[in-house]
């Protein structure tokens, strides 16, 4: 039975501005992982005072080499430790966990990413292109510092946006949403995802969002990651790690 696996960091990329990628090698994971999925990653310090593993989305997959990528921003204790790891160090990781973005749709797919919320849409762009699906990726950040993967994304249909106009278009991602009926995927700050949903909710579009909530187990045992979700006419506390992280935006109780 599978639990945490100890995987070697085969490569590391320092993007600058507190963004990093770690590349890990594992055949099974590289084969089965799908955008939307995430991993729980233990903080690899001996007797660390930070005991809980941290969740990270799948970013890219390099199937030929059995390598996959986690992309993250340093925001606290755990991510700081991860940022200091080196090639050759090991990480204990559990997953892939969680559900997937539902790409079986006839409609054109619009992906809306804010900052580090870009992660799931990297590999997804590759998959959609391979499957010859029509899609647009809208990727926004505060300034050009927050826009990474520029070269990689240049092969895909990407609209870059920054609040200060220092890279791509100037404004908020929500200023550039195309009108129409789409299947919309969004990942980023909750307020952004909510606005994306507001924009499309009266159209014939369906919006799916990847929710973030503090997690402790990732396996569903602790009920720590529950969020209010509409199920029929009831509001339930649903575990993001089990029934998410991807939810239909109309089920999400936004007014929190």
């Amino acid at each position: 039975m599978n639990g945490y696996k100890s995987l070697k960091i085969v490569d590391k990329k320092e993007w600058g501005d507190n963004y990093f990628s770690l590349f890990l090698k594992d055949k099974e994971i590289s084969e089965i992982v799908f955008p939307g999925n995430f991993f729980m990653v233990k903080i690899p310090y001996f007797e660390s005072g930070a005991i809980l593993p941290r969740p990270f989305s799948i970013a890219r997959v390099f199937k030929e080499e059995n390598v996959f990528e986690l992309f993250f921003q340093v925001v606290g204790k755990g991510t700081e430790v991860f940022s200091k790891l080196k090639e050759g160090d090991y990480l204990e990781i559990l997953g892939p966990l969680g559900n997937k973005f539902p790409i079986k749709t006839e409609k054109k797919i619009i992906m809306v990413a804010g900052g580090r919320g870009i992660s799931p849409f990297l590999y997804l762009s590759e998959i959609l292109k391979r499957e010859k699906k029509d899609f647009l990726l809208i990727y926004g950040g505060k300034s050009e510092k927050d826009i990474k993967f520029r070269h990689y994304l240049s092969s895909y249909n990407t609209l870059f946006i920054t609040e200060d106009g220092s890279y791509g278009e100037k404004g908020l991602v929500t200023d550039f949403l195309p009108k129409g009926a789409f299947t919309v995927f969004s990942c980023g700050p909750e307020i952004m995802m909510e606005k994306v949903y507001e924009f499309y909710k009266k159209t014939n579009s369906e919006v799916f969002v990847s929710l973030e909530e503090r997690m402790a187990c990732g396996t569903g045992v602790c009920y720590g990651c529950a969020k209010k979700i509409r199920r029929g006419d009831k509001i339930e506390m649903v575990r993001v790690c089990q029934e998410g992280p991807v939810f239909n935006a109309k089920e999400v109780v936004w007014d929190e």
């Binding site: 639990g3 187990c217 045992v221 602790c222 339930e236 506390m237």
Partner: protein
């Protein structure tokens, strides 16, 4: 090399080994099915079950603290009916000792939960979670008071033939008195500790990190306190003790057993790693061998104080 005997007993409950998965940290069981084989562990306790389904608290419900975590899940649960219909059949596939963690907003509710599940063969014992906030007592929990503890256990013993384990809160002045009250009321064993009341504040927003304001602290941080309480109870009662609080290695398990626990529960460690219990089981065998111990039962309460 001779075999290590890890079997132990909690009164009439015979366990393959002293490792039990603690309530609320292992879900209902099925969540862990893809990570561990339940036949290998000593026992399992369900999440706390109220009579009716419960939504639990709003989020955020958890927060990491130094060597520990705060939680205020608010005992979200599916209620006894769904529990009986959906969970017990899952348990029936496995051969280990299963306990139901019984919760109640009132004294009556505890009794009703036990009554409802009393005839279920697959339930080996009830662990009575005496730390639930009582709605009629301004949120005080029964195990803060020896009379309340006594009367709940007494009422339950009247209607149940199963093994009754009284689970105590550590947030009290004299744990010995609470433990003795449970013993007098007929409890077959005592498990402790539940979580310590704790809190954390987001200094940017000035709001508590946990929506419920207060939460329960678990994990390695509480281990020395939990061990002291287990030892105090061991010195005060005759019924067996199930110890817990921050256990995360085989060495920790032995500390609790030497201090008087007949078995132990593993909580937060399973949250951190779903296979933690089985990893510790293996470690425990190796450690017993290294220390030249053959039989874990010989170690129960073997602590040497004085001199």
């Amino acid at each position: 090399m001779s075999e290590i005997d890890l079997t132990t007993k909690i009164g009439n409950l015979a366990l393959k080994n002293p490792i039990i998965l603690a309530s609320g940290t292992a879900g209902y069981g099925y969540e862990l099915e893809k990570y561990i084989n339940f036949n290998e562990i000593g026992g399992f306790v369900s999440k706390g079950i109220y009579f009716d389904p419960r939504k639990g608290n709003d989020s955020p419900r958890i927060y990491e603290t130094p060597c520990g975590m705060l939680n205020a899940i608010g005992l979200q649960g599916i209620g006894v009916k769904r529990f009986r219909d959906e969970i017990i059949p899952f348990w029936e596939k496995y051969d280990t000792v299963f306990g139901v963690n019984v919760a109640g907003e009132t004294e009556d509710e505890y009794v009703k939960v036990v009554e409802y599940l009393e005839r279920e063969k697959r339930v080996d014992f009830f662990e009575i979670n005496l730390s639930c906030p009582n709605v009629h007592e301004g949120g005080k929990s029964p195990s803060w008071d020896s009379q309340k503890t006594f009367s709940i256990i007494k009422e339950i013993k009247k209607i149940s033939k199963k093994h009754i384990m009284a689970k105590l809160s550590p947030n009290v002045t004299y744990i010995e008195e609470i433990a003795k009250a449970a013993e007098e009321a007929g409890a077959d064993s005592i498990s402790l500790v539940n979580t310590f009341v704790g809190m954390a504040v987001d200094i940017k927003t000035k709001k508590p990190q946990i929506k419920n304001v207060f939460g329960g602290v678990s994990g390695p941080a509480i281990k020395p306190m939990a061990l002291a309480l287990v030892f105090k109870v061991f010195k005060s009662v005759k019924i067996p003790i199930v110890g817990m609080g921050g256990i995360s290695s085989a060495g920790d398990i032995l500390e609790f057993i030497i201090s008087g626990a007949s078995a132990i529960e593993i909580g937060t460690a399973t949250i951190v790693d779903p296979r933690a219990s089985l990893k510790m089981l293996k470690q425990l065998k190796d450690l017993m061998r290294a220390l030249n111990h053959k039989n874990i039962k010989d170690l129960i309460g073997s602590i040497i104080t004085g001199g």
